[in-house]
């Protein structure tokens, strides 16, 4: 699967923006462009592999230092440009997510990738809190620190209903090693324990997704697919504008009430005890 990472992200970025080159001054690993969605303009962002990146540990589609700061710079620019606009006119931001992981490199740790990732998450969250609809479109892999940096602060998360979608805290081989299981055991466990699963339909049971999207082949979108996904994005943008700007909606869906029961209970207990403390 790993040889496909970034291809879907690139395909959907091209489909939705009709652009395929990095913006001037950006590293080759970030695609950013504004394009029409419905009757307004939106900012689209994607992280893609670049075999000649000057940071060796991001060449396969990982999110590293340059990627995080570049994403943040684009998001911050849109926040600043729209700061005087009323909320309903703030531009939507669409993060197209197909990322292998964060970069696992010494250069990255030395120069503070934790902080770079935080800067990007801050920018996305600030956009959301300022009233920009922030939509994550998971087109392929969304792993761990890569997803936290790029997409997980969105008010609405969309993902293709497809076996190539993987949203997880750690890739299978590493997770198996660390939890001392075989990959087969891990896959079996995923069917019983939804948060452990690598299957996007199990992920949907957690209540974090706004919607599962259907296309035949997410790597090769047809004109009809693109039209359908545009409509889904427009719906998600509209829905985001109607809701609060925090992430509380992730606790309120029917599936969240079922699967995230313990988290909801601890929140309620804390609120009940807070006043008298």
């Amino acid at each position: 699967m790993s040889e496909h990472i970034g291809l879907r992200g690139r395909a959907w970025f091209q489909a939705l923006t009709e652009e395929s080159q990095p913006a001037s001054g950006d590293p080759g690993t970030v695609l950013a462009a504004e394009a029409q969605i419905g009757d307004e303009m939106a900012l689209f962002l994607a992280v893609v592999p670049n075999p000649s990146s000057r940071f060796p540990c991001v060449r396969d589609g990982q999110v590293g230092l340059e990627e995080a700061f570049t994403l943040a710079a684009h998001v911050r620019r849109v926040i600043a440009e729209d700061s005087d606009r009323p909320k309903e006119q703030k531009r939507p931001i669409v993060a197209i997510v197909d990322v292998k992981s964060q970069a696992y490199g010494r250069r990255e740790e030395t120069a503070g990738i934790f902080f770079a990732a935080a800067v990007s998450a801050d920018a996305y969250a600030s956009a959301r809190m300022a009233g920009h609809p922030v939509i994550a479109l998971v087109a392929g892999h969304a792993f761990s620190g890569g997803f936290l940096t790029h997409g997980y602060q969105a008010n609405r998360i969309l993902a293709f209903d497809d076996s190539g979608i993987m949203i997880h805290a750690m890739h299978k081989e590493a997770a198996a090693r660390i939890t001392r299981r075989s990959v087969a055991e891990l896959e079996q466990l995923g069917h019983e324990i939804a948060p452990m699963s690598y299957d996007v339909r199990d992920y949907a049971r957690l209540g974090l997704l706004h919607k599962l999207l259907h296309v035949n082949d997410p790597q090769h979108p047809t004109a009809a697919d693109i039209e359908a996904i545009r409509r889904d994005l427009i719906d998600a943008i509209r829905d985001a504008r109607l809701g609060p700007t925090d992430l509380s909606n992730r606790m309120q869906s029917a599936s969240a009430k079922q699967t995230r029961k313990a988290g909801i209970a601890v929140r309620a207990a804390l609120e009940a005890q807070w006043q008298n403390a």
Binding site: P56, E109, T110, F114, T179, A269
Partner: protein
């Protein structure tokens, strides 16, 4: 001659690192003015660990204490590094996010309530994988929602350190306080060695690890704000100063251009020497020193 005068300072001081998460959090508050919320007797533990044959803990390794620090309302949220490596599960993550949200609610209503995050964690708890990762995203969001209204102070004392997704929560905090024994990074050395090979990172090289992730270096390059001794009284004083500090107009994680330019100026043809990076980055940072 009194006994104290012949003993060196490190003998009489009270170590902070030797305290567990609960005692660390308690030690920060004004005497007699603190209360634990949703403690072990409320028995809200992880539903996912027993399904995998792992004993849960009645507080899920996350302790929330509310009270006053320097006379001001504050909440401390401590991860217990001794339980499952301080990992973030559904319950511990929700507890942390909820405490931050309630502090934000009070702060917006005029009762400024600072939050102190005591982070000793290896990151997301893999047995709760996606719910842990989602909780981390929510914690980051909640830190950012509170930060304009009250200080959010991350304290990393050691010895687990702060790694994985929670390092982003540290990164968006108003201030980061560390000891020399503490480490802060996105990926721990073992993970890098596993994923990228021993040539990239030799996880047995202690000197290298501390040169990169250690508190002295993080403060030295301006990505953390205060280096404190492993002394409970001194740490309490430092935290109190940050709790009482005026709010800033701009925080480190909002300074995109400064840091983007710094990354652009790095020579990546070889590994980056931590010492020379410290020389390059030590000046001109708008860090959080008081």
């Amino acid at each position: 001659m009194s006994q104290t005068s012949i003993l060196p300072e490190f003998v009489s001081r009270r170590s902070f690192i030797e305290l567990d998460g609960r005692s660390r959090a308690e030690s920060l508050f004004d005497e007699g003015i603190s209360k634990e919320l949703v403690g072990p007797f409320d028995r809200i533990s992880s539903p996912w660990l027993p399904m995998q044959g792992i004993a849960p803990q009645a507080d899920d390794g996350c302790v929330v204490i509310k009270g006053k620090i320097g006379g001001m309302p504050a909440v401390a949220i401590a991860l217990e590094g001794a339980f499952q490596g301080g990992s973030i599960g559904e319950v511990s993550g929700a507890k942390m996010a909820a405490a931050l949200d309630l502090a934000a609610r009070d702060s917006k209503a005029g009762k400024r309530t600072a939050a102190i995050l005591l982070l000793e964690t290896g990151g997301v708890r893999l047995q709760e994988a996606n719910l842990g990762l989602a909780a981390v995203a929510e914690v980051i969001s909640s830190v950012l929602a509170l930060r304009p209204h009250a200080p959010v102070i991350t304290l990393i004392a050691g010895t687990v350190g702060c790694f994985g997704g929670m390092s982003l929560a540290a990164g968006v905090s108003s201030y980061i306080v560390m000891t020399r024994e503490a480490r802060l990074g996105l990926n721990g050395p073992e993970v890098i060695e596993q994923e990228s090979g021993i040539d990239e990172f030799d996880a047995s090289d202690r000197a290298l690890i501390w040169a990169i992730h250690g508190g002295e270096q993080r403060v030295g390059i301006g990505l953390a704000d205060a280096l404190v001794e492993d002394d409970a009284d001194k740490i309490k004083t430092t935290i109190r100063e940050y709790v009482q500090a005026d709010l800033r107009l701009e925080y480190r994680s909002q300074q995109v251009r400064l840091y983007r330019d710094r990354i652009a100026a790095l020579d990546t043809s070889e590994q980056i020497d931590p010492k020379s990076l410290r020389q390059k980055w030590s000046n001109g940072t708008k860090g959080g020193s008081l």
